[in-house]
């Protein structure tokens, strides 16, 4: 029996090895170079790279951008950033809200014939101007008008999971979608901010934007401080873990009372500029597809919030929250500083995520 199984393994592995044996078209490199020569590079990531280099003072303005919209500004190979003519989902990352449920991933391209997800999420309701919505899909487009008509220009920016929209107007119905006008970070815009219309959900009601629920909706803020190590996350699943987490956060108050049967405690320590120290914890997001639990923060001083230029000194700001266990995915959960995908390998960002297998 064992020999028979090994034989099967060998044949499976042989099959896998030969799957890659397809000749690369000779035209491919030339076509990529032609396209690259016509394609501007995205300088958002450069902002972060220069910000961390002390010799380059130009990074000062960028800090707020990086911290405010981590998913947009970090160095993330996104699941796709090709121009797509319509709002287009490929994964849903609901924030913690009873009205938001997980669904399987979908396509990056609009496809009216595609079947609806059996567990479609709800689009946000009751959204007011000034409210912040979080993107819960890939490659969501921003338009000049609330419709998909040809006179509604598609801007080059693409919203990725975790990217924020500060709502200024809406909702407005158009072309079968519900639209919100708002501001998003866009490196191609003159001042780094693009104002445009974004569809809140597909025509089946699957959310592309989600409201960020406030405290009390599955989580509560236990404390915050301006000390600790930036870009780190800590998790306490029992009373034994809590003192160390509390100390890492640098909070001087007494330890809070936690029912660890019902909650876990998470520390999210962000970095903010010393000249633009304001940071708001908007909510705690849960991505049930990838089992990621992440913080959603905004900086009132960032360009998105019509703020000022910020210096490049990074100061910590820790938030410690208690999250209801029944809001968390089963099994191994990845508590991540922000939703943006950690793409680089061995680049020092591993501390932005802590994985815990919850009993």
């Amino acid at each position: 029996m064992t020999g028979r199984r090994n034989n099967r393994d060998d044949r499976v592995i042989d099959y896998l090895r030969q799957r890659g044996e397809a000749p690369m078209p000779a035209r491919l490199p030339a076509e990529v170079i032609d396209a690259a020569a016509r394609t501007p590079q995205d300088n958002d990531g450069q902002r972060r790279a220069t910000w961390v280099t002390p010799l380059l003072a130009a990074a000062a303005v960028m800090l707020a951008v990086v911290v405010t919209l981590g998913g947009l500004a970090l160095v993330d190979p996104q699941v796709g950033d090709d121009p797509t003519p319509e709002p287009s989902p490929s994964s849903t990352v609901p924030t913690m809200s009873p009205s938001v449920t997980p669904r399987p991933s979908a396509s990056p391209d609009p496809d009216p014939s595609a079947s609806a997800s059996p567990e479609a999420t709800d689009e946000p309701t009751g959204v007011e101007p000034g409210q912040v919505l979080v993107t819960v899909t890939d490659d969501l487009v921003v338009r000049s008008a609330p419709s998909t008509a040809s006179d509604s220009e598609i801007y080059s920016v693409r919203l990725q999971p975790g990217d924020l929209l500060r709502v200024t107007e809406g909702p407005v119905e158009g072309s079968g979608f519900t639209w919100y006008r708002g501001a998003v970070l866009d490196s191609s815009a003159p001042d780094g901010v693009r104002e445009g219309w974004v569809a809140a959900a597909d025509q089946d009601g699957t959310a592309w934007l989600a409201a960020v629920p406030g405290e009390g909706d599955g989580w509560r803020l236990l404390g915050e401080s301006t000390s600790g190590e930036p870009y780190t996350v800590g998790v306490a699943t029992s009373s034994d873990d809590l003192p160390a987490l509390w100390a890492d956060a640098g909070i001087s108050e007494d330890l809070p009372a936690i029912d660890f049967q019902r909650e876990v405690v998470v520390r999210y320590t962000h970095a903010v500029s010393g000249t633009c120290p304001d940071i708001n914890l908007e909510g705690i997001g849960v991505d049930p597809l990838d089992d990621i639990v992440y913080s959603v923060v905004t900086l009132p001083s960032s360009p998105l919030f019509e703020g000022q230029n910020c210096t490049s000194d990074a100061r910590p700001h820790a938030f410690v929250v208690a999250v209801d266990r029944d809001q968390l995915p089963d099994g191994e959960v990845h508590f991540r500083l922000q939703r943006g995908f950690i793409a680089c390998v061995d680049c020092g960002r591993e501390s932005e995520e802590v994985s815990v297998v919850l009993p």
């Binding site: 592995i13 799957r19 690259a36 020569a37 961390v52 699941v79 680089c344």
Partner: protein, 199 residues
Amino acid sequence: MGGLDAQRWLEPASTSMERSGGLYSKVRRAQEGDVDAFAELMERHAPELHRLAAAIVGPDDAADATQEALLSAWRQLPGLHNRDSFHPWLRTILVNRCRNVLRDRSRRLSPGVLDFDRGSEPADPGPPVHARVTEQDSLDAAFETLSPDQRALLSLHYTMDLSISESARTLGIRTGTAKSRLSSALAALRAALSPEVES
């Protein structure tokens, strides 16, 4: 705190890439918009990426996925703050592009409707269908049922000979998770080998 962050993000003064053929400087030049430098990098890495794409999404979509991944890399290159990680970074972009291709593909196929449109049916039905199914067909069909992550994992580990931990890092998942997903994916492929085929 500035020192802390500088230490955290500052790139090493000398790297293995610098010592081996100037790749580090090519990445830096490409980050500054030098298309020629990017072309040199692409020449080195494109064949491997295409091989990986072919393994994950199949030969028909491999060229498009590779092309799109490379162009995406060009756009995002200025943000790569650790030039030593260029190669795995590129690989991650490619895998993400392949995930998109697979998601797109699955969305376009209605549930329960398989894509058997591979040529016209013969006038004579010939021998029973099961007798014409080859081992390759069985494995192809089983591979098509795997999740994008399972396909990527199998391809990274077995086609590209990456370690499990390196494959896991490419996908942004834990090594333990990668092991269990690999195991279930292999089991699915093994099950596709019928006793008749095996004998």
